[in-house]
């Protein structure tokens, strides 16, 4: 399993944000995307996920097999928004994403235990605090399996203990042969990760 990006260019509102960005990640490798605000970290992740059209270049996965032939089908995307419905309970939210995304991983209760939200599954998602919402959203990565995790500021709103727990989750995912691409300002606690420095106007 390889994730390859070649000569990627990104635009926002007709203006070039970045160009000629390339990387190749083998299984078990992580890429940390850093840079100041406005450097195009989120744009890069959205282009890799295929949610934005690339201004140039291409992204592809190799060796994904039948289950994960394309980047979109092989990826989890965790953006700024949590993609959970406030009117539904946490369990219903996770159960829905598990059923919709297919490739079931941990069951809902286990996933909630893993992010230390065990026993809170019956609460409406709207009742949770910011950090708890983020953790519930991280549990979404666990209920269905995807080899590539695209994470945009994954630890925003998390406390110290949750950050460490999340670093452990990412390490576990990498050890299982997964790939992580994370845009962040904060150190994520991943040793040996590649780093991509983005600059404004590059």
């Amino acid at each position: 399993m390889r994730l390859i990006a070649e000569n990627l260019g990104g635009e926002r509102g007709g203006e070039t944000v970045f160009s000629n960005i390339g990387f190749a990640l083998e299984k078990g490798e992580a890429l940390i995307v850093t840079g100041p605000n406005g450097a195009g970290k989120s744009t890069l992740l959205r282009i890799v996920a295929g949610l934005l059209p690339a201004a140039g270049g291409k992204v592809l996965v190799e060796g994904g097999g039948e289950a994960f032939p394309t980047v979109a089908s092989a990826s989890h995307y965790l953006g700024h928004l949590n993609a959970m419905k406030t009117a539904l309970s946490v369990e219903e939210n996770l159960g829905f994403w598990c059923a919709f995304q297919g490739e079931p991983g941990l069951d809902v209760e286990e996933a909630l235990e893993t992010v230390a939200l065990g026993g809170l599954g019956h609460l409406p998602f709207g009742y949770l605090s910011t950090g708890q919402r983020r953790r519930a959203s991280i549990a979404k990565l666990l209920v269905s399996r995807r080899p590539v995790w695209l994470l945009d500021e994954p630890t925003a709103g998390l406390d110290k203990a949750s950050e460490e727990r999340f670093a452990g989750l990412m390490r576990g995912h990498l050890d299982d042969g997964g790939i992580v691409v994370a845009a962040t300002h904060l150190p994520l606690g991943l040793e040996g990760a590649k780093e991509l420095q983005m600059r404004v106007g590059h």
């Binding site: 949610l51 979109a72 995307y77 009117a87 159960g95 919709f100």
Partner: protein, 221 residues
């Protein structure tokens, strides 16, 4: 797909879903009409099917702007688009349309016979109008989905959707009302306009979700 249908149904039933708003609006419009046109029972019976159809059409448009906007605001739309390789996006849209129709429009169809009484309509006319509403309103939802997908990024897209969609729903309205009249007024036919109405619904069940999927795929930012 079934899970998406269930989720959207749950959301429309729970607090803030707005499933009842449409019915209340429908009721309000129908109840207002006799005050406007006066207590002429024959006139009310004559314009009844048309008024029911127009009121149902407007009530249908009421909740459409939230069809994709709610999912966009909490980030779900990104994931629905991202899973486009597993579930064809047009089918995802079709499922959302069906859930929206079942949750917000089907109650209108159920309420229509009761409101027909307010318009002094004959039982046959009431039955025919409810039947044409049942067959015709999905078409409005399917057209509306395309409008909602185009306007998904606009903060106050609701009115724009209505303006975009209303002209496109005219054929549905025409054949729906003429079939309803065909059932009560003798020389006019019922079956032909009714079949064309059914054909319109089937045609738009394909075209609407495809157009909406295209708009959603290119509208993400």
């Amino acid at each position: 797909m079934w899970s998406l249908f269930l989720r959207d149904m749950r959301l429309s039933i729970r607090a803030g879903g707005g499933a009842l708003i449409g019915v209340i609006f429908f009721l309000a419009v129908i109840v207002t009409i006799p005050f406007g046109v006066g207590p002429d029972l024959n006139l009310l019976a004559r314009i009844g099917p048309a008024i029911l159809w127009i009121a149902a059409l407007l009530a249908c448009l009421l909740g459409l702007d939230r069809l994709f906007q709610a999912d966009r605001e909490d980030g779900s739309l990104d994931l629905l688009v991202l899973n486009g390789d597993r579930h064809m996006l047009a089918l995802t849209v079709l499922t959302k349309c069906l859930a929206h129709w079942t949750g917000s429009v089907l109650p209108l169809v159920v309420a229509a016979p009761l409101l027909g009484l307010f318009m002094n309509m004959a039982p046959l006319g009431i039955g025919a109008t409810a039947l044409t509403l049942l067959v015709g309103t999905p078409a409005i939802t399917f057209i509306g989905a395309a409008g909602a997908a185009v306007a998904v990024a606009l903060p106050r897209g609701g009115l724009l959707i209505s303006v975009l969609v209303l002209p496109l729903t005219i054929p549905v309205l025409i054949f729906g009302v003429s079939a309803s009249y065909g059932a009560v007024a003798d020389p006019a036919p019922f079956l032909q306009p009714f079949l064309i109405l059914a054909a319109l619904t089937l045609f738009l069940a394909v075209l609407g979700p495809l157009a909406a999927a295209l708009a959603l795929r290119h509208g993400t930012d």
